[in-house]
Amino acid sequence: MKKLKKISKVISTSLALSLVLAACSDKEEGSSNSNNSGGDKDEKVTIVYARGKDDTQGTTAMVEAFEKKYPNINVDFKEMPADTGKQHDAYVTAFNANSDEIDVVDLDVIWPAEFAQAGFLMPLDRFMEKDGINPDDYNQGAITASKFKGKQWALPKFIDAGMLFYRTDLVDEGSVPKTWDELLAKAKETKGQGGTQFGYLMQAKQYEGLVCNAVEFIASYGGQIIDENGDVKVDSPESIKGIAKLVEVANSDVVPQNVTTFAEPESHTAFINGQAGLIRNWPYQFALANDEKQSKIAGKVGVAPLPAGDAGSAAALGGWMAGINKNTKHPEEAWKFLSFMAGKEGQKIDAIKGGHAPTILSLYEDQEILDANPYFKEEGFVNALEAAVSRPVAPNYPEISDIIQVQVSQAVAKKITPEQAAKNMQKEISAKLVK
């Protein structure tokens, strides 16, 4: 009997506790509701915007401008891991639990198909129609990447493409390598000059960046991994040629011997320390290399499209977009923020303060943006953006990426030949691809 009493006591206490807790949370909501009741104009809504770490001032300045324009909307940051793979895993966990704690979310260019398929995002077509946003104003590669099954799931914020950066004191503008063979020759020639240890830097670690490098080599020789109909086409003579060239470059003596441990941080650190004359990297490299606080080569950096193979030059499409959580409690406000951020005003601020390349084409004629980023005017830069090739679009992209990473990495390590790598990729991607 005593025991029973005790148990009932425990139960009643815990019940009381949970009631108190529930009351507390009710109160919180109640208080925000009471704010709301003051009329539509005074309604203060807080939305949560999740993004990876941004080292530049771009995002903060953009959010300040937004809050100034819409005083009734408050934007809170939710900082996520900077590593795109880890960020992806964190979002998947949160969204899969139907969490509503994130309202607006940043998306890497490779995620929209997966997130749309999984039902994590809100389709934006209705909003876009209402506000008259025309997808034709945007860079088409970026718009295509944010569409899936005929619907728009995100808006592109900024665009990235793989590019060749060079030291102007070592490489004359006239002799910038135009083909991969010229690149190897030039890298050999400049290696050791001007305090350099290497000729060329790239990313060959077994990670997402290797997929970008591989896509660039394959496309520059006219190959494809998945064609526009969604068929796997990687086992072709062109693709094999591209992979073989990647293996050749990664195993040549102009790149660091441990280039298979190089991701972006390793390669840009070596470049800004003046250890190499040429590097393949994303546009942020330009601003970083000209930052006098960190860089030993400030003012001596040029940019050009990546070298060409048999079929011309190709750059991997990168960049970030933003979408709205399907479970958000404030879809209207979230859309206001998203359309501001990915619209002209937001992108302009981010381009000036953050050095990110806009996805809205007309912004490349904006004098303020060009003053802040003089290289946006350079032909090589604009051409590279236009030639950007997207990575395979599939709702199970991480699986496809993993296959490419493993096979290309083994080819670079010379454990298998480029022919075998192409054959294995063809077989494994065909088996795993979800259309």
Binding site: G85, H88, D89, V92, T93, N96, N98, E114, F115, Q117, A118, G119, P123, F148, K149, G150, K151, Q197, K205, Q206, Y207, P256, Q257, N258, V259, T260, T261, A270, N327, K329, P331, P395, N396, P398, E399, D402, V406, S409, Q410, V412, A413, K415, V434, K435
Partner: protein, 442 residues
Amino acid sequence: MPNNQKPIATKTNQKAKKKRSDRSLGYMLIAPSMILILIIAIWPVFQSFYYSMFDLRLNNPAKSEAYVSYKVNLQTYLDNYPFLISSLEDELDEATGKTKTELEAIKTNLEKVDAELKSDQELSSKYDEVDEKLTVMEPISEELAVSDLDKEVALDLEKAVTDSSERIRELKGELQNPEDVIGLSASLKDSVITPNFIGLKHYKENLTDSRMWKAIQNTTVFTVISVFAELVIGLAIALLINKAFFGRGLVRATILIPWAIPTAVSAFMWKYLYDGQNGIVAKAFAEIGLFDQMTDMLTTSTGAMFAVIFADVWKTTPYMALLLLAGLQTIPSSLYEAAAIDGASKWKQFLKITLPLLKSSILVALLFRTLDAFRVFDLIYVLTGGGPANSTETISILAYKVMFAQTNFGEGSALSVIVFICVAIISMIYIKFLGRDLLNDK
């Protein structure tokens, strides 16, 4: 006599009763711990095993849970069906001849199944409710959106949707906005939820996958070499710090530092030490001729495997030494004194006294470390990420990649169960062949 018998009978009866109540009291006392063990140890394994028998993918709404019956997701359905019908109507206005009849056939086919859906009383009310909420853009709860479906209706629906999706794909060239219609019909397919129970298929696939076997092989190589090295070096260190010498306390404390550093931190530290350009350790190994070049440490398969084993030995040898030291201190020093008087050499003393008496400590330490090493994750995840070319990918790393990066929960669970089975086998081997001695010693 008969008078006597009765009390005895009752007595034994009482005794038995008492015994029984004692026993049930005993069970009652251990019940909480049994329940705890069930909840903490057995339940997760059972849960993983259960999930491993489903084709479970977080990034696919029709497979994001373990479904054993047919269901329909009304939200997905109503998000696409009306739009698909209206797009089809738009196309019909423009189409002519064969395309027109084909489109009409597709449309009637879809409408027929839609009517079939609505004919179910319960479903039809939910259908209307979801439709209403969608028009005013209100959030829809999972319970409302997902409803059970008759198997026949579900199969009809699936067939109709798949059929029309294929037929529309074939018409691609003739349509005004092929992307929209194809996209909508493909999305509509996601609204039908079919049971995703696949039995032991994940196991079959994994057991025939060379990548998994390579991962098991890497794990085994890592475990055997690192545990052996740790045992030898740990024993040497334990013997050393068991001796009385000046500053012994300080040595004992400092030796524990590697073990006290969080694994992820020490993995980062080793990453810099092994770096091909600036790493001191890489430089030292290249100087003494262990490697041809500094860069070989993290870029070649053997180099990377050596690198992770070396870091692991550095990190966990102190733990091994500590366990063995505890065992050494239980050996009475009188044994050594007696042996010394009998004229036994130090080596003989070690072989005849230390090793036999230390046996149980060694076994416990080995068991702990083997199981630990077999599940290695954080060290390798930070140091090499499984590369280069998968040469350091252990079974836990593979399971993580499949489960979280690829969000393939079913297959990831299968891999976790395989890890569990391997660990169970290792424990059984230890207990079967060595455990006997362990029990006899005491």
